[in-house]
Symmetry: C2
Subunit: 416 residues, 2 copies
């Protein structure tokens, strides 16, 4: 597409365009950060009013049964499972991605303590999303059983890293910085050949790229609902456990929601059958209920169409930046190969932070990631081809005029 | 108070009566279950609209900074700390009570591994809220280091149970069934005399009874915000760590929110200074934001007045049931002694479940707890003396007429 007119034409042909009106997007904004916090489904406000004013305000404690609050993790989990190749009673929406990593890692290590008791290595990637690494480090420090974390520096090193001393491989399916996507089936198969269990973090893939956990014979998966699933800020995460592993272990965050009969108030923990044993404590109902608004839209979309549009939009973004911003020091770090590309595109720029602030000031909202990365999330449910065209034109203008080099755009908000 | 008129008079004299209009309560309901799910502050709906429609819908990703979402655990924690005798940067609102028990237990055990490496016993009460016991069991099973849980059957056995083999004592300050309240300072002091660290679960006390963690020299505390603090269904919980312990240990649920510089995206975990190291993953912002509505009301109340009214109302409930329901098989299991009574009152009745269903059908909402307990929560912020009078009259009518003995009132909803 070489002109804005051709982009508008593509938007008119887009079978997913019917979904964009289901989201509320502020005027004057091109939102390229839906891979960090997804946009708001228009149903969210009415749903929150229902939960707060009616279910809480009027129903009060009765709503645990009458409004099926207690069942939310399973009901949402079953819906979400359809997006990732999982069956019923294989997914619960609950807690945070970090915590679900802890649960799945504990379970995987316990399984390996029986199968391969001598294995003490957990493998991940150095530029995996940090919380994945931190949770592994926390587990290693807690167990004091001689486990070690082995980090690989490149996806190409994966095969040689999963040797006979490795218990568990924990990877993000799509890398949060580069947008590189692993071949889940191939990597899982390689892991299994070496007796290694595979845990997949789907934070940057669920709702954005096709995922088939059963087909890939994955062991565990976790992910978040507030990115491409548009579940709301900090919305609860999810966990999937392969049915063959599900009943083997009581996971260590064994709170009362995972008990087989929670209201018996028995002193001894007895894990629920099925995936509910991966629940722990009482869940934040309002945030949880909002997840359903985003899920219901995701389930209306055909994933093949989502993938096709995602690749077309990321192709367009890459091509337009190359054509329109040449001469500026932008370096694409996202793979050009469709087979290993997720749904966001990152470019490095020596002044990436300031350039991104200048873009945001002009209404093009992407985000910045260390070091020097401009990151643009492509969300096929509510982004169009002309949006990408307009975003690149604004980027070109900022770079051509040097308008990013203002003191305000260099100022970093300290996070404490 | 022997008449409804005298109750109405007491309501007119009540200095806390000014707070009742701040809550939304459905007409025709006498709500005696605020110790399970607190009532809705009237500000909650407007606050949720602000967070959802404005901060999420319009602000999108920018709200992490612009609306201070990232700071919510600390800001709410500092407010909550004022209710429990804690200073600034000693409390965060985050995750669930169950998870915060896991964090504090891990930290306490780690401290003891240095101070008393041979100790392998964790003490609690058999009728502690089950999730407390389940989390201990999960930790023991995970660590495989020979830890054991010792359960005592009566608070009177406490002193002899905390011997020289005990590492940690984990108690609920107020028992969820009986309403018995421990003397936190005395029990903690006894624990410390034996070299034992004390973790307090404040779920049934925060906002309901005076708590002074610093004065009691407690070691760790956790609790929930959706009971007497009226934070909303399943609202995030909190954790407090004594400043002397706070910087000693990186807790094992070491997600990126607890990192000293989370947005550096470094591969190695380095815990934040202060209580933020007890954070783990991204928090559910909508549910979190609503906690502030309830906290702000709690902070308007004088805790001495709350306690005085709580004792007056529980005294009244006990006296009226004794006077008006005599001849019926109700047995008080809550202590009469003010010094060891929390803010709810429980009676056993051989058909407790059916009696409670009949009460709820008449608009008197308490709850049922195994075995055979009618439990009535007394929330001084929005309950009055005439409410208690009316509730007992309805109870008397149900018992006198035998109206509880209908098939519908015996039917239990299965929880799966």
């Amino acid at each position: 597409m070489q002109t804005r007119e051709s982009c508008l034409h593509a938007d008119r042909q887009d079978p997913l365009a019917r979904l964009k009106p289901l989201f509320s997007l502020p005027p004057g904004v091109i939102y390229l950060d839906g891979n960090s916090l997804g946009a708001m489904p228009k149903t969210a406000h009415a749903r929150s009013t229902q939960v707060i004013a009616q279910e809480w305000g009027v129903g009060l404690i009765r709503s645990w049964n009458a409004a099926n609050w207690f069942d939310l993790p399973s009901r949402l989990g079953n819906k979400l499972g359809r997006l990732i190749g999982a069956g019923d009673d294989e997914v619960v929406v609950t807690d945070t991605t970090s915590l679900n990593i802890f649960k799945s890692l504990a379970a995987a290590l316990r399984i390996q303590q029986r199968a391969h008791p001598e294995r003490r290595v957990i493998v991940s990637e150095r530029d995996n999303f940090p919380t994945d690494l931190y949770m592994i480090q926390g587990m290693i420090d807690l167990l004091q059983q001689g486990y070690a974390l082995r980090l690989i520096d490149s996806p190409a090193r994966l095969e040689q890293a999963v040797g006979e001393d490795v218990a568990v491989l924990l990877l993000s399916h799509v890398n949060y910085r580069t947008g590189h996507m692993h071949d889940m089936a191939a990597v899982t198969s390689a892991a299994h050949r070496h007796g290694v269990l595979a845990i997949w973090d789907l934070a940057h893939s669920v709702g954005a790229v096709p995922v088939d956990l059963a087909g890939a014979q994955a062991d565990f998966a976790v992910g978040c609902t507030y990115k491409y699933l548009n579940g709301g800020p900090g919305a609860p995460a999810f966990i999937w456990v392969a049915p063959r592993h599900r009943d083997q272990f009581w996971q260590p965050l064994s709170g009362w929601w995972g008990h087989s009969r929670p209201f018996d108030m028995a002193a001894d923990y007895r894990p629920a059958g099925g995936i509910r044993r991966y629940l722990c404590g009482t869940q934040p109902v309002v945030s949880m209920a909002l997840v359903e608004c985003g899920l219901d839209i995701a389930l209306e979309a055909d994933m093949a169409q989502v993938r096709e549009k995602s690749l077309a939009l990321t192709d367009l973004l890459i091509a337009l930046v190359q054509a329109r911003c040449q001469g500026h020091p932008l370096t694409l770090i996202t793979p050009r190969d469709h087979g290993v590309r997720g749904s966001h595109v990152s470019f490095s720029h020596p002044q990436g932070f300031a350039v991104m602030q200048a873009l945001i000031a002009r209404g093009v909202i992407g985000d910045y990631r260390e070091p020097n990365l401009l990151r643009f999330g492509i969300t096929p449910l509510y982004l169009g081809f002309a949006d990408v065209w307009d975003a690149v034109e604004i980027l070109k203008d900022i770079l051509d005029t040097g308008n990013w080099d203002q003191p305000a755009f260099h100022q970093r908000t300290p996070v404490t």
